[in-house]
Every structure is written in structure tokens, then in C-alpha cells.
């Protein structure tokens, strides 16, 4: 019993350490890729190819003054970024990151908690993460913040239905909510990937995932050109940084979910070992988010609601119905 507790604590600490570092690295990668797609160089001067820019940004964020506006609701203003960052890491607890491996004769499952409702847990944790922007925008006594939190509510109500309904069809096929079971259902190579059986569900899930992590084309929460910085207008220093660590950790989580549910997870892929395969898949989905940000314009809040409620949700329901009919016949 003690061994399990110690193992879980070590895993949790590792997940927080590795994924907050990866989230920081994600900002660097994003700046580099956006730069190349716009014929720029991006960060170049701190370290080789500017890779130490993350350290410079970290030092800047940590040493910056933490300003709390005069009329803000201090307590909520202070805890809102923590909600975003914490829920992003809590969601990662149910994600199996690598296949099992053995170190010194001790088998390690690289998942913090293999609960039988993994997908539900991840979706729930990520959804509660949106309380961060919602409360931050309302607590900061700023008009842009209020608009940002109103848009958060819109976003929240729009994508959540689509995420749930789009994942329902693969869940019906596999018959489990655990991501490990999903992985085990696709052991037979590329032909058994669920994306071939559920292409519509995959597209819906990716669209909803972009909305969930508030990436372009759905970054209506803090779109600079329209509402300054939305919910993050009054934030500075590490509190602002926590919002961003949360956002990038969410992007990694969504990439993991897409890889695990639809693209064979950490099964061996041809000659590639499982660990490398899932790294490649997650990197691709992370890159896709940056790629889309460089390519597509973002849409208005009313267009987002229209898209989610009137287009994606009916398609998702039809997909669930057709999947059910095919399974019964």
C-alpha cells in the first residue's frame, strides 16, 4: 500500500515537472513555427536557435510585479489562474503516457491513476478548467475581462456538447471509458485504428478540442485584436504565466486524447516502438494546432455557437445513431 502511494506521488510530481516544462517549450515551438510560416526567424538570440528564450521568459514572468487591480475581487482574482493550471494537470492524471516498461525488475505503468472512467474524468477536469478564465474575467473589474468571461461562457456551452457526443460513438464501439482499454482495442496495427471506423467522430472531436483549448479559429476568449487580452487583461507576472501553462498543458492533453482514442495510442506502429509512436502522434497534433493558427482566421462568437449547436451537434447525434444501428444489426 505504501509503495503505491509513494509511486503515485513520484508519478504526479514527474507529470507536473515534465509537462510544465513541455508547456513552456510549447510556447517556444509555437513562436518558432509561426515565425517560419510567416517567413520570419522567431526568437534567435538567447542560446542556440533561441532555445533559452524559455528560460529568459520564465525569469521575466517570475520576477515581474504581481499587480492586483484596486477594485478587483482579490481572492477570486488570485485563485483563478491556479484553477486553470491545476485542472490542466489534474486532467493529465488519467492519461496513459507511454506503454508499460520495466526498470530494475519493477514494472511501471506510466499513468498516474488508471481509473475506469478516464475519458469522463479528463473531460470533466478540462471543462472545470474553464472556470479559470470565467472567474478571472469577472473578478478583475475590467470591461475587456467581462467580455472575455462572457465569451468563455459561450465557448463552454458550445463545445462541451460536441465533445461528449463525438466521443460517445467510439466509447460505444470499445465499451469502456478507460483510455487503456481504448489502447488495447487498437493493438492490431494501423488497420484497427478507430479513426477508420469513426472518421466523423474524429473530425468533430478535433474541432471541439480546438475550442476546448481555445486555440485559433476559436480563440475568442482573449483575441487581442478585438478585446485586448480578454480574461487575461489585468494579469501580470506568474499569474498570467499560469494561464498559459494551463493552456499549453491542455493542448498536450487533447493531443494525447486524439492519439489514444483514434490513432492507435502507444501500440507499436510498424517498426516503431510504442513510446516513439505516441510521441510522434502527439507531436503531430500539437503541430496541427500551431499550423491551423498560422493558416486560418478566427470566427465570431455567434458563428461558433451556430457551428457547434446547429451543425456539429446534429452531425454528432446522427453519428451516434448510425453507429448504434450498425452495432445492433
Amino acid at each position: 500500500m505504501d509503495a503505491i502511494i509513494i509511486e503515485t506521488i513520484v508519478k504526479a510530481a514527474l507529470v507536473i515537472a515534465v509537462f510544465s516544462a513541455l508547456a513552456g517549450f510549447g510556447t517556444f515551438i509555437e513562436r518558432k513555427i509561426l515565425a517560419f510560416m510567416q517567413r520570419r526567424l522567431g526568437p534567435m538570440h538567447v542560446g542556440p536557435f533561441g532555445i533559452l528564450q524559455i528560460a529568459a521568459d520564465g525569469i521575466k514572468l517570475f520576477t515581474k510585479e504581481d499587480i492586483i487591480p484596486q477594485h478587483a475581487n482579490k481572492f477570486i482574482f488570485m485563485i483563478a489562474p491556479i484553477i486553470t493550471a491545476a485542472t490542466a494537470f489534474i486532467a493529465l492524471a488519467a492519461v496513459p503516457i507511454f506503454p508499460e516498461f520495466t526498470v530494475f525488475g519493477y514494472t511501471i505503468h506510466p499513468i498516474v491513476a488508471d481509473i475506469n472512467v478516464g475519458i469522463l474524468f479528463i473531460l470533466g477536469a478540462m471543462a472545470s478548467g474553464l472556470y479559470g478564465p470565467l472567474l478571472a474575467g469577472m473578478a478583475q473589474a475590467n470591461k475587456w475581462g467581462i467580455i472575455g468571461s462572457a465569451r468563455t461562457a459561450i465557448l463552454f456551452m458550445s463545445y462541451e456538447v460536441v465533445t461528449g457526443l463525438s466521443l460517445l460513438a467510439p466509447i460505444m464501439l470499445v465499451g469502456s471509458l478507460s483510455l487503456i482499454d481504448f489502447n488495447a482495442a487498437q493493438t492490431g496495427g494501423v488497420g484497427e485504428w478507430l479513426v477508420w471506423q469513426q472518421p466523423v467522430a474524429f473530425i468533430l472531436f478535433i474541432i471541439a478540442g480546438f475550442a476546448e483549448t481555445n486555440r485559433t479559429p476559436f480563440d475568442i476568449l482573449e483575441h487581442e485584436a478585438e478585446i485586448i487580452s480578454g480574461y487575461a487583461t489585468e494579469y501580470s507576472g506568474m499569474r498570467w504565466g499560469m494561464f498559459f501553462i494551463g493552456e499549453y498543458a491542455n493542448m498536450i492533453t487533447i493531443s494525447f486524447m486524439a492519439s489514444l482514442i483514434f490513432f492507435g495510442g502507444f501500440n507499436e506502429w510498424g517498426i516503431l516502438p510504442g513510446g516513439l509512436a505516441i510521441l510522434l502522434k502527439v507531436s503531430f497534433f500539437f503541430f496541427l494546432m500551431l499550423w491551423v493558427r498560422a493558416s486560418w482566421p478566427h470566427i465570431r462568437p455567434d458563428q461558433l455557437m451556430w457551428l457547434c449547436w446547429k451543425v456539429l451537434m446534429p452531425i454528432a447525434i446522427l453519428n451516434v445513431l448510425i453507429t448504434g444501428l450498425v452495432m445492433m444489426l
Binding site: 513555427i33 517560419f36 510560416m37 510567416q38 517567413r39 520570419r40 526567424l41 534567435m44 499550423w291 491551423v292 498560422a294 493558416s295 486560418w296 451556430w306 457551428l307 446547429k310 451543425v311
Partner: protein, 207 residues
């Protein structure tokens, strides 16, 4: 453009071309049809390909437009009017300025100050020559008027300094004597045009 057209201030349709676009969808069904059309036509993937192509060209073909400014500089036009240069005669190395005072006279910002005296050869010697760059408007009249091509506009456009004396002393603007070989004939503002010989006409003497 004729004067009549120019005076017509009734701005309307005369010179404008209306861009054709398809009718906006009115009903929900039409909107849905447009979404379907745009989904199937793959316009979104065209956008993705454009950025991917740019990235590939940037990474593997070097098509990056960033200029790392303090380390590399873009060439400027020879007609650019930056901080002045004082040129030397190529044969003797003596400065070209003959102390005629035309630049001081023509300077509309009144920023050139020069003093001259006769040296032992009864040749004008410049004892003092400064340009007050706090006043100079870089109009180029001094370079234009100079009969000897002695004062020209050079290429030093980075003019941030703690004091303007860093630029305005005659010896600073003068070509260093050891760099005489690198001194280029100035092609820019105030220089003789390449076809100057063709433009020379005989002064009519008889009226």
C-alpha cells in the same frame, strides 16, 4: 485626367469597379448549404498548404525575410541623404573643399559654419567647418551647390549619439587619409549626372 473630371467632386461610381461576390445566404438552409460547399471544396486545406509551403521554403530554401539589423544592414539608395561626408582629392590627398562658402550661404537651416584664411600659397584653407546636426534638415542643398563635389551625403544613417559633435567635426566627416583608396566617387545627391556631357550646350553669345 482631364481638368473637368478632376474638378468633379461628386464621388460616386465613376472610377470604381464593384467586386463580384455571390449573394449572401438568407435562410438557415442556404447557410447550411454554404457550410457544406466550403467543407467539401477544401478551401481550408488550401490555406493549410499555403502556410506549409511557406514554412518549407523558409526552412530549406532560405526564404526568410528577417534582417538581423545590427548585424546585417540593407543597402540604401545612393540618393539617400544621411550624415555628410567630406571627400579628398584622389591624387594629392588634400581635401577638396576650396572654402568658397556656397554651402554656408545656401543652407536654409543655417546650420553650416565655416571659417577660412589664405595659407602661404595664397590658397584658401578651411580653418573651421562644422555642421550643426541639431538644426540640419538634410535637404541636400549643400551637396547640390558644391562646385567641387567636396561635401556629399554619405551613408551613415545611424545618427543616435550622446553629443552631436560625434558627427559634426570636419575631420570626422573627412575621408581618413589611409582610406583614400576606398573613397568612392559619389553617385548620389548633387553629383554630376552620368549623361552630363550630353547636356552641355553652348552658351549663346549673340542675342
Amino acid at each position: 485626367m482631364s481638368l473637368n473630371k478632376f474638378k468633379d467632386r461628386n464621388v460616386g461610381v465613376q472610377n470604381y469597379t464593384l467586386i463580384e461576390h455571390e449573394a449572401f445566404p438568407q435562410t438557415g438552409g442556404e447557410k447550411f448549404a454554404r457550410v457544406l460547399k466550403r467543407t467539401i471544396k477544401g478551401e481550408l486545406f488550401v490555406g493549410l498548404w499555403v502556410t506549409m509551403r511557406t514554412m518549407i521554403l523558409a526552412l530549406f530554401n532560405g526564404e526568410i525575410h528577417t534582417v538581423k539589423y545590427p548585424f546585417e544592414k540593407l543597402p540604401i539608395s545612393p540618393r539617400y541623404r544621411a550624415i555628410h561626408d567630406m571627400l579628398r582629392l584622389l591624387e594629392s590627398g588634400h581635401y577638396r573643399c576650396i572654402g568658397c562658402g556656397l554651402c554656408e550661404k545656401i543652407c536654409i537651416a543655417d546650420c553650416i559654419k565655416m571659417d577660412t584664411k589664405y595659407d602661404e600659397n595664397q590658397r584658401k584653407e578651411v580653418t573651421e567647418y562644422t555642421i550643426n546636426f541639431g538644426r540640419c534638415i538634410f535637404c541636400g542643398y549643400c551637396a547640390e551647390v558644391c562646385p567641387e563635389l567636396a561635401i556629399v551625403h554619405g551613408g551613415r544613417y545611424e545618427t543616435a549619439s550622446q553629443q552631436r559633435a560625434s558627427f559634426s567635426i570636419f575631420d570626422d566627416m573627412l575621408t581618413p587619409i589611409d582610406a583614400l583608396k576606398e573613397q568612392k566617387e559619389y553617385p548620389g545627391f548633387g553629383a554630376v549626372s552620368p549623361n552630363a556631357d550630353d547636356n552641355i550646350k553652348k552658351t549663346p553669345l549673340a542675342y
